[in-house]
C-alpha cells in the first residue's frame, strides 16, 4: 500500500506550524503520531499534498501536574500518559483508559492530541476528557482560545477546531479522592470499543455526592450523559439508581450497527459497561 505523494514539513514552533496550516490551506494535514492518518493515507482515503509533522514542535509534549491541576501537551503519547507517576497520582482514570487503547507499539506513537482532535467517535480520549470536564487549547493565526471537551464534538470528524487551528494543550482538574473507572468492551486488543464508559464519582455518608458519566463509540460523537450522572447523585448506588442511570444513558446514546454488532447489542453492552464502571468507581471512592 503506497500513499499519495506529499511535501513534508517539520516546524519547530507552534506558531510556525499554525502559519503553515493557514498558508497551505485544505491541502495540508497536521500529523501527530500518525496512527489514524497514515492508515487512511495508505488506503488513499486521505491524500494531503502537505504533511505538517508536529514532532519537532518545541514544548508540545509533556505533562505538568501542579496543585491538583493537570496540563498535558497535545504531542504527549499514550505511552507517556501511562508512565507518568504524577499523572497516575492526580488522575489515575487517564492511565486506566490509556492502557486500554490500541497496543504497545501504537501507544508509543499515538498522542492524546491526535486522539482528541481527529474526532473519530471510536477514540477513547474524547469521552474520557468529557468525563473529566477538560478544556482544550486551540492555537490559530488569531492566537489561542479554549474550548471545553463537552462542547468540542459535533459529529464524526466534525469538531469545534477550525481548519487553521492546532490543538496544543489539554487541561483538567485531577480527581484525587474520587472513585473512577474506565470500562471498555472490545473484541480484541487494538480494536475500538464496542462500548465504553468513563465514570467519576464521590461518595459521602454512603450516598453518591457527585458523578460524571461519558460513553464512547455509541454515537457519532462522545456522549457526556448528565442525565445518567443525575440518576446516580443522591442515591446509595442501589439497583434502582443503577437501572435509572442505565436507562438515562441509553436515552442519550445513538449507536449504529456495524461489524461490532447490531444496535440492540450495543445498547445492551453500553449498559453492562456503565454498571461495571459505576461499581468499580464506587469501590474506589
Amino acid at each position: 500500500m503506497i500513499p499519495g505523494s506529499f511535501d513534508y514539513h517539520r516546524p519547530a514552533t507552534v506558531q510556525e506550524a499554525a502559519r503553515l496550516v493557514a498558508s497551505l490551506g485544505e491541502d495540508a494535514r497536521v500529523v501527530a503520531g500518525g496512527h489514524s492518518l497514515i492508515p487512511m493515507m495508505k488506503l488513499r482515503m486521505a491524500a494531503p499534498a502537505h504533511l505538517i509533522d508536529l514532532q519537532g514542535v518545541e514544548g508540545l509534549a509533556g505533562i505538568a501536574v501542579s496543585g491538583g491541576e493537570v496540563r498535558i501537551g497535545a504531542m504527549t503519547t499514550q505511552h507517556m500518559l501511562i508512565e507518568d507517576a504524577a499523572l497516575a497520582q492526580a488522575a489515575p482514570l487517564v492511565r486506566e483508559a490509556a492502557l486500554q487503547i490500541a497496543d504497545p507499539q501504537v501507544r508509543y506513537m499515538g498522542t492524546i492530541g491526535g486522539n482528541l482532535a481527529n474526532g473519530d467517535p471510536g477514540n477513547d480520549m474524547p469521552g474520557l476528557m468529557q468525563c473529566l470536564d477538560a478544556a482544550f487549547t486551540l492555537v490559530g493565526p488569531e492566537g489561542a482560545r479554549q474550548v471545553r471537551a463537552r462542547e468540542f464534538y459535533f459529529g464524526a470528524y466534525d469538531t469545534a477546531r477550525a481548519e487553521d487551528e492546532i490543538l496544543s494543550e489539554i487541561a483538567f482538574s485531577g480527581h484525587a479522592g474520587a472513585g473512577y473507572a474506565y470500562e471498555k468492551q472490545k473484541r480484541k486488543i487494538g480494536d475500538y470499543a464496542t462500548a465504553a464508559a468513563a465514570v467519576l464519582l464521590r461518595m459521602e455518608g454512603g450516598r453518591c455526592a457527585a458523578a460524571s458519566v461519558a460513553m464512547t463509540n455509541l454515537a457519532d460523537r462522545p456522549i457526556f450523559s448528565q442525565a445518567a450522572a443525575d440518576a446516580l447523585v443522591g442515591s446509595p448506588l442501589d439497583a434502582a439508581a443503577l437501572d435509572a442511570a442505565v436507562a438515562a444513558m441509553q436515552g442519550d446514546i445513538a449507536p449504529g450497527a456495524d461489524t461490532r454488532g447490531p444496535v440492540e447489542f450495543k445498547r445492551h453492552v453500553a449498559g453492562v459497561m456503565l454498571r461495571r464502571a459505576v461499581a468499580r468507581a464506587a469501590s474506589r471512592a
Binding site: F6, I38, D103, P104, Q105
Partner: protein
Amino acid sequence: MSKMHVKLTVNGKAVEALAEPRTLLIHFLREELGITGPHIGCESSHCGACTVDMGGRSVKACTMFVAQANGAEITTVEGLAAADGTLHPLQEAFREHHGLQCGYCTPGMITRAYRLLQENPSPTEAEVRFGLAGNLCRCTGYQNIVKAVLAAAPVMQAQKEAAE
C-alpha cells in the same frame, strides 16, 4: 513532491539517502537498505511483524513515513546479535524454547520483547503477554514465545550487571 535527503542511524551505522517523503519506513529499510529482518505482514498496523526499535520506542515501520523517521536511531533484529555473531539472549531463548515455527513474526516479536525488557527487566507472564499484544503469531499459540521472553529476562539482566 520532490525527494528529500534523509539521514538515519540504523543498527549503529549512519545512513543517508534521497527518498520520497511518502516512502514507508518498512519499504525504506527493506528495499533501499536491504534490511529484510523487519517483515511486511498485514500492512495495516495490526500484526507487528514490521516492528523496529526507534529512539527507545517499539514502532510499526509500516505506519511511519521515512520523513518522520528522519534523524532517528533505529535498531532492527539484525542489530541485536553481537559483532562476532553471538546471538542476543532473546534470540538464543527463542531457539532454546522453540519460540518460533514459521518464523515470520519472529523479528518483530524479538525486537518488541527487547524494548519490553529494557523497560521492565523482570516482567510477570501477564506483563509479557500484555507487552507483546501488538504482535501476532499464527503458529505457536504464543506459549513458547512467552516462555522464551521470560527465560531471556534474567540473562539480559545478568549481562547488563556484568557490563556495569
